[in-house]
Symmetry: C2
Subunit: 159 residues, 2 copies
Amino acid sequence: MSNTQITAEPGMPHIIITREFSAPRGLVFRAHTEPGLLVRWLGPRDLTTTIDHWDVRNGGTWRYVQRDPDGNQYGFHGVFHGDPSPDAIVQTFEFEGAPGHVCLQTMTLAEHGGSTLMRAVLAFQSVDDRDQMVASDMERGTRDSGDRLDELLAKLQVS
Amino acid sequence: MSNTQITAEPGMPHIIITREFSAPRGLVFRAHTEPGLLVRWLGPRDLTTTIDHWDVRNGGTWRYVQRDPDGNQYGFHGVFHGDPSPDAIVQTFEFEGAPGHVCLQTMTLAEHGGSTLMRAVLAFQSVDDRDQMVASDMERGTRDSGDRLDELLAKLQVS
């Protein structure tokens, strides 16, 4: 089960992702910014995520590595623009397998009736870059991440 | 006289700017990264630019203020993604008159026969944001900046 919506209009250098979480936005925000929580939900289920560094502030850089069961490693890094808040986390994002191809990600969290709507806009340097991202495993990773975050938020609210 | 090309396709959240300069790319790069040179060409001719801070490195933040003859002030800030080099300067950009509206700018410099082709891709979070930028004074500012940079590069090569 997944209520993740992924929109990638043909010919547009954007991907828009939305998902509803049954949790207050403060908690959803914490899950996106505290490295100890982030590694528990980020990425496809069969990959493990290790944070290299994670500096949540304006100009703060971050990097993490994901490893699959065969030992392959996938590095990602970026920079925060502005101090992240529940209103918006704005950051650059680069997959180290395609150096020089950077995207700008803007995530907003809107709470209503105890639930939180996450909306992320991924803006790419070209339609080709966007299409490469769509052709990669991003859809599975995004849906798995949402499901895993759902599960983590449920645990955090019980405990 | 201006050889600046500004392309803004309808319905696309991008602006692409190109311009040829009669100078080696190392010098064009210096003019984009050294604050003492930057203030001598950046912006429309009738505005003066003051650097608030300017930290040219991965994760480095920058901010400058432009003042018009009537004393109005326009602030801009952003963050560098990756260490800037003549191959690419990648940075976020936000006009403080429209907080929360961020664009990702990628500038590349290609030298051939002593001239340098500058190409910049401005990727916006939405088509509306792109259209707002086009509707602003950006075209005049971009053409003036290119002309002023041309003049500065000529002076730097004579002296």
